[in-house]
Symmetry: C2
Subunit: 808 residues, 2 copies
């Protein structure tokens, strides 16, 4: 057996870094009673469907048949919420509350109910006995509300269903909100996740002059579902070292005795708020560069399931993992459990907490802040209410001149960067750009002309030569997609705007965060009281087709498959083929609300096809025929050459040219798709084409050679219901790659011009007999191409410098 070290316990009178007893005895009493009320409500939500005020003896039929919810972290979270209420009132603080252990929703719901914000939103759940009854019954009940801090929870911007993002969300909310203090409870379970472990470093990116503050309270309640937590089972010194190492000043509060804990929590929280104000005041009074402040954070060690049953059936519950969910689970089966539940519930003396009408008694209710100072009603947590539309320059002003399609190369992202730069200039306080150390790599450096990368770390003289860091920049770069995504979500949900660019293969790092944000947006859209927020704009670049030196690990265009699984009401995918279409798409996305917009566009130079007017028209249609590349005017086409994506489009055009070189009379229709969901039936996605529109582009019965940027199966998945699906021949990335030249990689995956032209020949009935010579020639050209690459390490010049020669 391991040693019984138990070096630290959560039990006993409070022990804390900050001494002091700021509360009068009456304040202690009232705070305790307020806390009792919140805990009674928390337990009530989990258990009661009737007899909400325990006006009669508790019986089995009063209790929900299925007991769901989490008790474990409620008491600790509620304690902090209530003590923050005191400070909000005392200092007129502007504060929101983020509940990292999302499972502890009862603590938040009960507090928003007690402060009144809940009933203002949900008027059917009033501040009386009937309302209380409804509040209880709806919790974790079909047709009701979930047991996390879902969008339905007033004051929540963080659901906590998936763990790990509380700190990054908190910092995202704090950026550019100089008066805001984000109180964030961090579970010691979620602390073990990677995203949480690195998000503590967010303090290197928070500028006390123009940003608000984050006050993290690490809640060491000791246990996860069925295990102790790491941070609760290392010596005190290690915890202290760790948070000093993360750059914080940690304050400790440990204990279980309510009275002394109230004093300790009150004193410590107040000290931290004062520290925050001191740091901010000094920074804002200073003119020069700042030293990175050592922000306060709190480590609160209190028992899991605190104030609940100490033991059940002879097993320790309070202060143990058994308190994680429902402490007494067999109340329907065991009378002694029912009795124990009743005793526990009555221990909060609710008859003193709620009056005859079932309303919270006034002497306690008045402890809560008022109006929008209540954390359940703070406007920042319903950020759409504060959101101001971006001031947008005219994207047409950034257009690349295109006189003839496919003649000149330009880096689309570099063009977009000039547009983003001016958006950043025009919106200096509510727009940020995010990237994991890749803005420069992704050719977005023009943004630095407006605002540089924020950096509160040390500064070396050599940084002046191109590092582009400064304390007051608004470009966010850290090598953590998780942290960036969390910051961005927090920034958007509090009413601001952002733009995230990242390498295509590694956007999978945040698949799960995307899923969760999409779910948040979908649920929010069903709530009339939640105001619209800006879309999350994600530029996916450094794409699969240009990974010459990075190879196989950097080739993965599968994020689109993840996105396509989420609700059509919140997802949009765009694959602009060139610079002007990227500008048009970028403009559209930055104006949109409540979506996740995914834009796929490579950072390397690519041919431009459309002038800005044509680009805008094309993007508005979402997909259309490129007449200049088509030869089917006034005829039925022999074949449709279709493309979606920049490299895919170039190869498809080159294939068209090759085909026309061999068969000048061929009737080819060239179709380009920008808005991927156009392919889906209009019954399935708001952007979908009707069957008539779809057939008008792709014909009801002609062969279609569809060249796709990503995995080819996605196109089949989106089009399988279409009339002409059986004639769709889709090419795309199929997991073949290594160190390759661009053309060699295209050939391996059969998205190259030669393969596409051969594909077409094979499918056009009239070429069945006369196509063999052309097919041979194309095969040879393809082989020559590969041979050259293997010898020289680069593609042949006529491939590298290929331009569209027109239709002959």
């Amino acid at each position: 057996m391991p040693p019984d070290t138990q070096s630290i316990t959560a039990y006993g009178p409070a022990r804390s870094t900050i001494d002091g007893a700021p509360l009068s005895p009456d304040e202690v009493r009232r705070t305790q009673r307020y806390w009792d009320a919140s805990l009674y409500l928390s337990a009530g939500m989990i258990y009661l469907r009737e007899n909400a005020l325990l006006r009669e003896p508790l019986k089995s039929e009063h209790i929900k048949k299925r007991l769901l919810g989490h008790w474990g972290s409620d008491a600790g979270m509620s304690l902090i919420y209530i003590h923050m209420n005191r400070l909000i009132k005392k200092y007129d603080l502007d504060t929101i509350f983020i509940a990292g252990p999302g499972h502890g929703a009862p603590a938040i719901i009960s507090n928003t109910y007690l402060e009144g914000s809940y009933s203002e939103i949900y008027t059917d759940i009033g501040r009386d006995g009937e309302g209380l009854q409804r509040l209880f019954k709806q919790f974790s009940f079909p047709g009701g509300i979930g047991s996390h801090c879902t969008p339905e929870t007033p004051g929540s911007i963080h659901e906590g269903g998936e763990l790990g993002y509380s700190i990054s969300h908190a910092y995202g909310a704090a950026f550019d909100n100089p008066d805001l203090i984000v109180t964030v409870m961090v579970g010691d379970g979620e602390s073990e996740t990677g995203p949480l472990a690195t998000a503590w470093h967010s303090n290197k990116f928070l500028n006390p002059v123009r940003d608000g503050a984050v006050l993290p309270i690490l809640h060491l309640n000791g246990y996860k579902i069925a295990n102790p937590t790491i941070l609760a089972r290392i010596p005190h010194e290690e915890v202290e070292h760790l948070f000093r190492g993360y750059g914080y000043e940690p304050y400790f509060i440990e204990g279980s005795d309510p009275e002394t804990m109230h004093q300790a929590v009150a004193a410590t929280l107040e000290h931290c708020v004062q520290e925050i104000r001191r740091i901010q005041t000094e920074a804002r009074a200073s003119s020069g560069p700042l030293e990175r402040p050592r922000w306060p954070m709190i480590v609160l060690r209190s028992p899991k399931g605190w104030t609940g049953p100490k033991e059940v059936d002879g097993h320790k519950v309070e202060g143990f993992w058994r308190a994680h969910q429902v402490p007494l689970a067999e109340v329907h089966e065991k009378p002694e459990h029912l009795a124990q539940l009743e005793a526990w519930l009555r221990s909060y003396k609710l008859e003193e907490l709620f009056d005859d009408n079932g309303s919270f008694v006034a002497e306690l209710a008045e402890l809560a802040p008022e109006g929008t100072r209540r954390m359940g009603a703070n406007l920042h947590a319903n950020g759409g209410l504060l959101r101001k539309s971006l001031k947008m320059p005219d994207f047409r002003d950034y257009a690349v001149a295109v006189e003839t399609p496919g003649q000149t190369e330009v880096g689309p992202t570099a063009v977009l960067a000039t547009f983003l730069r001016d958006i950043a200039r025009s919106n200096p306080h509510n727009f940020r750009v995010f990237s994991p150390d890749e803005n420069a790599s992704n050719r977005l450096t023009a943004i630095y002309e407006a605002t540089k990368k924020v950096w509160m770390g040390e500064y070396f003289p050599e940084d002046a030569d191109g590092t582009e860091i400064t304390q007051d920049g608004r470009v966010m770069e850290m090598l953590s997609e998780h942290t960036l995504e969390g910051w961005l979500e927090g920034y958007l949900l509090t009413g601001r705007h952002g733009f995230f660019s990242t390498y295509e293969a590694f956007v999978h790092v945040i698949d799960s965060m995307f899923n969760q944000h999409a779910k948040w947006l979908e649920k929010s859209s069903e709530l009339s009281w939640r105001a619209d927020v800006s879309s999350l704009n994600l530029l996916i670049t450094s794409t699969v087709w240009r990974q010459d030196h990075n190879g196989f690990t950097h080739q993965d265009p599968g994020f689109l498959d993840v996105v396509a699984n989420k609700s059509p009401s919140v997802t949009r995918i765009y694959l602009p083929p060139d610079a002007n279409t990227l500008l048009s798409v970028g403009d559209h996305c930055l104006r949109s609300k409540n979506y996740v917009n995914v834009i796929v566009a490579d950072k390397q130079p690519h041919l431009s096809y459309l002038d800005i007017d044509a680009a805008e028209k094309h993007c508005t249609k979402g997909a259309g025929i490129w007449e200049w590349a088509s030869t089917d005017k006034d005829h039925e086409p022999d074949i449709v050459m279709a493309s979606c994506g920049d490299v895919a489009t170039m190869e498809s055009l080159a294939a068209t040219e090759l085909l026309l070189g061999h068969f000048p009379d061929l009737k080819i229709r060239f179709v380009n798709v920008v808005d991927l969901f156009r392919l889906v039936p209009d019954t399935e996605h708001p952007h979908g084409f009707s069957d008539r529109e779809f057939d008008a582009l792709f014909t009801p019965n002609k062969p279609v050679i569809f060249n796709f940027h990503a995995y080819p199966w996605l196109i089949h998945r989106l089009t399988y219901r279409r009339n002409n699906h059986v004639n769709f021949h889709v090419r795309g990335y199929k997991e073949k790659g290594n160190i390759n030249t661009p053309m060699e990689l295209a050939i391996q995956n059969q998205v190259d011009r030669f393969t596409l032209a051969i594909d077409a020949i094979d499918r056009i009935p009239s070429l069945k007999l006369r196509g063999s010579h052309a097919r041979e020639t194309l095969k040879e050209q393809q082989i020559d191409c590969r041979r050259y690459a293997y010898a020289e390490g680069i593609d042949p010049p006529d491939i590298v410098h290929w331009t569209w020669k027109g239709q002959g």
Copy 2:
């Protein structure tokens, strides 16, 4: 401007925690020359296609046309590699090397070449001038090798293409390898990722008695692609605090002066190795429980691009982010760059390093270890060579008795757990089970009868009551899917076996790690010298259909879509419908090699359908007709009811029963799919059915109502080429959910028995006219069902206790 703090610089004579000069002047000289050789090779790989030994003046045509590769971290990594060589020889260490900054592959490739392990594997790249030439040319060249530590790299188990997993891989390799020291270089860039930031806590799970050691060297070379790194720009004390907080004893080495740095590195590494040995010796001599050791780790601060060009075109390069990739990029365009490159390359005095034949001179070559002690030839890094097949009990012995299909409920994962328990018993040193605090939740607790959860943190008396932690357990639980997946990968790649269970929705957290591991396996399979490793077995449970209390955030079956994008040669997906099929699938997966096996099976009780013989047969076929649920014997079916997944199968069977209740003469064929890739054409996946086999199950032209566990589109994607695809009507999860009872959730997503039965009626021509009454009845039943759930919070008893009544 921010303050010029520059509190720490990487320049100057070495400063280090451990003093001492263990090397003789001649050892310093020879170590320096060895290092020079590795650095010359590293630079040569990036630049030279000819003139590899610089026997003639350097000209543009000697240089690759496209310059790819990363110079930045090479010098620091190579330095550690070489100094580890000395200790390997001195102490006969068994050591592998993990290169966190995967971009630094030249450092590893050059060292494996110098030690001879490279040429033993790649005999065409000999240890002479010609071999050297080939070594250079193939690097980052089409048809050659990548610039990360890809599977092609001798001694590598960690590619580093995606950053963040070096530490978890290292610990995975060290578990159950008591004599192994895993030297792991950690980039300060990757240190910013979430997965890396939490993986440091792996030391709470490493038992010095039976596990090996991990020696992390955090390489503070200061910069990422275009930014400083966080850890390089915080004060020294914070770095020290951080690693003490993580539970390590940090040792610092800082400087750039080679001679003193050699002494500092030699002394520090030697001290750490001695510390490791001391910890291990003491632990292994002790009989009682251990105190968690404070393992050593090293912080190495050396200039990025060390020994490369100091400045280029007036810009600082060495010791700056500009050294990240190719320091001199315009050698073809600018003669002065070419001259500077030549001077740099010649600065290593290669004429003294390689003899006339181009072979590494003997007095230096002899510094390398020999045989399998060379880190490029260590067997652990080609773990398949050490792999022993699992001793497997007969899975049939764990079978659930099934006399009549669909009568009794049993929790499939709990049954599997008894099988896993006995595997753990029979393989006490090379099999581990992994889960993010969910083994108990996932009903796998039977495993604890064989081995408990390892825990080197503090132990409290109450833990004796069911916490199931101990210092010598082999169940790995930490609330970080990233760390678990990294441990498991490291464990498998070094020749052992493992089993990972995780909640379905949150397996998306490791989407990207799965992608990377699948890519590693695929590339490895192309290398004859890489021996087979055990498959990565992933049990996905707590599935979408049973999230009564967790709600929408916990509903996401989309991992299968991610998996289906990876190469068919390494991916397998199984959805066993009951306990016995899960046993059979589990047995198969644990015996398999070189795959990622994904098994989807819920943890809740589910009906059993097949006895163990039938289960084994069914799983071997992968998909088949269930005769006992079919009524089409000797007839063409009117309809095919097909299912894939446990809940999907139950609903499909219940629908079949409902249909037969209304239309007893209906010819229904019931098909169940376990092996998802059976659906794919055999030309696309080794498990795929031929069209003939597929048609034999699903008919060429009858309606098919396919009830699927996950997102329905995946089935269309897999079957769109099949003859009968047009008649496939697929139901599955479509992102509709909240707090729901199981049936209510099924109804919302239309995978419930009533919807399926109505679907069937709508598609059977003979029921067009006479189906309306049945349709109405089914609709009413469905509505009643929902009404009950909304009133009672649970499903109706006849739904909850439904069993298969047979065909009448």
